[in-house]
């Protein structure tokens, strides 16, 4: 299928240019795998950074540790329409993206080599998206990413001190103060965090405590879709076609429910550059107060 910028390997009709799909959803009963007619499909990365075959072979190298680059890298093709953005997906199709994340997490959790799956989306060249066709990705890793272990350790430390989940406390305070809430429904709240790393950064959190994304039921998937769609449309109204990334943070694979950790999405518009100071210090310079950003987003006409 012809695409705006030339040939697009993710478009329907070009299924032979991708590896065979590991998952697809279709409204058509007679849909055949790896053929057009899908609403969403998930394929392994054709040129993956990590390989799924082999064993980890963990070993020490002096004071360093090393292991083979084992993992899974998959691409979730969110729509057959090359020009359709994630933000513009109608709810009945956006929910399929969230369900696809769940289905792949469930499948990858069966592989004992993997400890964590990072689900992420890049939109816009500045945010790292190399192709216009709307897609997100996931990478299954044999180790816990440092940022996740840091969140888990920090939240455990808070829990030991307060015997409460820090994310639950954040949700309670933000709803009570209503200074940084962008949107909420019965089951989810969207906030600009107290110390955002980028202007218009948003977090979407389930109101009911849960450490794993996989704990959601159908009502939660519907409510997540509603609030996520609203937040993305508000962001797009404030800053049309802004490049962004979003990530899903949740408990490690196969972990027991954690009282101290709370899964959530983080949405990061790409409006500022991470340069030497930010990279070297871990500090971020944000010119827009979170309360102002939340106000802009809440007042955006959608």
């Amino acid at each position: 299928m012809k695409a705006g910028g030339g040939f697009c390997p993710l478009c329907p009709g070009n299924e032979n240019t991708t590896p065979p799909e590991v998952l697809s959803y279709s409204s058509n009963d007679g849909h055949q795998a790896n053929r057009p007619g899908w609403d969403l499909r998930v394929v392994p990365n054709k040129y993956p950074a990590l390989v799924i075959e082999g064993s980890l072979n963990k070993e020490g190298d002096g004071l360093y540790d090393r292991m083979n680059g084992i993992g899974a890298h998959e691409v979730i093709i969110e729509t057959p329409d090359h020009h359709e953005t994630f933000t513009s997906l109608p709810p009945e199709r956006m929910i399929k993206v969230f369900l696809a994340y769940r289905d792949r997490l469930l499948d990858l959790a069966q592989d004992p080599r993997f400890r964590y799956v990072m689900v992420f989306k890049n939109f816009g060249a500045a945010a790292g998206a190399s192709l216009e066709h709307s897609h997100s990705q996931l990478i299954a890793l044999p180790i816990l990413p440092r940022m996740i272990s840091s969140e888990i350790e920090g939240s455990l430390s808070y829990y030991k001190y307060k015997e409460r989940c820090i994310f639950c406390d954040i949700i309670r305070q933000e709803i009570n103060q209503d200074q940084r809430v962008v949107a909420q429904n019965d089951l989810f709240v969207a906030i600009v965090p107290y110390a955002p790393r980028s202007p218009f950064e948003m977090w979407i959190l389930p109101k009911r405590h849960a450490s794993s994304y996989l704990a959601m039921d159908n009502d939660h998937f519907k409510a997540l879709t509603t609030i996520f769609s609203e937040c993305m449309r508000r962001l797009n109204t404030c800053i049309p076609n802004v490049p962004y990334n979003f990530v899903l943070h949740g408990a490690p694979l196969r972990s027991q429910p954690l009282d101290h950790y709370h899964w959530h999405f983080e949405i990061m518009p790409k409006l500022t550059m991470i340069a030497g100071f930010e990279w070297g210090s871990g500090f971020y310079i944000n010119p827009i107060a979170p309360e102002e950003a939340a106000q802009f987003l809440k007042e955006a006409a959608i």
Partner: protein, 116 residues
């Protein structure tokens, strides 16, 4: 005799690759840029394209998308000194991605496979 269009902005690559590929029995044509490759496509009608990525003007990935737009069935092997371009999903339009090396065995095997 099968025709290969070799696209790279470096003369040294053409010198090395042409000799080795001609020894394998292929007819090798050269293009020094993505623009030149697109112009030569219709004239030469190659059976396979070996395409560098990092080139001035149209880079290899943009050239790849345009080549596949013109002829989706034409095998294109991306040949780059860098692994990092593999993160660009647009490279999926290619039939193979070979990281450049002084040992051309992997490239020759890929050529043989896609011309079989």
């Amino acid at each position: 005799m099968k025709k290969i269009l070799l696209v790279d902005d470096e003369d040294s690559i053409h010198l090395l690759y042409r000799e080795e590929l001609e020894e394998e029995g292929y007819e090798v044509h050269s293009a020094l840029s993505g623009e030149e490759a697109l112009a030569q496509l219709k004239i030469i009608a190659p059976d396979l394209v070996i395409l560098d990525i990092n080139m001035p003007g149209i880079n290899g990935i943009d050239a790849l998308r345009q080549i596949k737009e013109i002829n989706p069935a034409l095998p294109v092997i991306l040949s780059s000194a860098y692994q990092e371009f593999k993160q660009d999903l647009a490279t999926w339009a290619s039939d193979e991605y070979i990281v450049k090396s002084s040992n051309l065995d992997e490239l020759k095997a890929a050529v043989k496979k896609h011309l079989a």
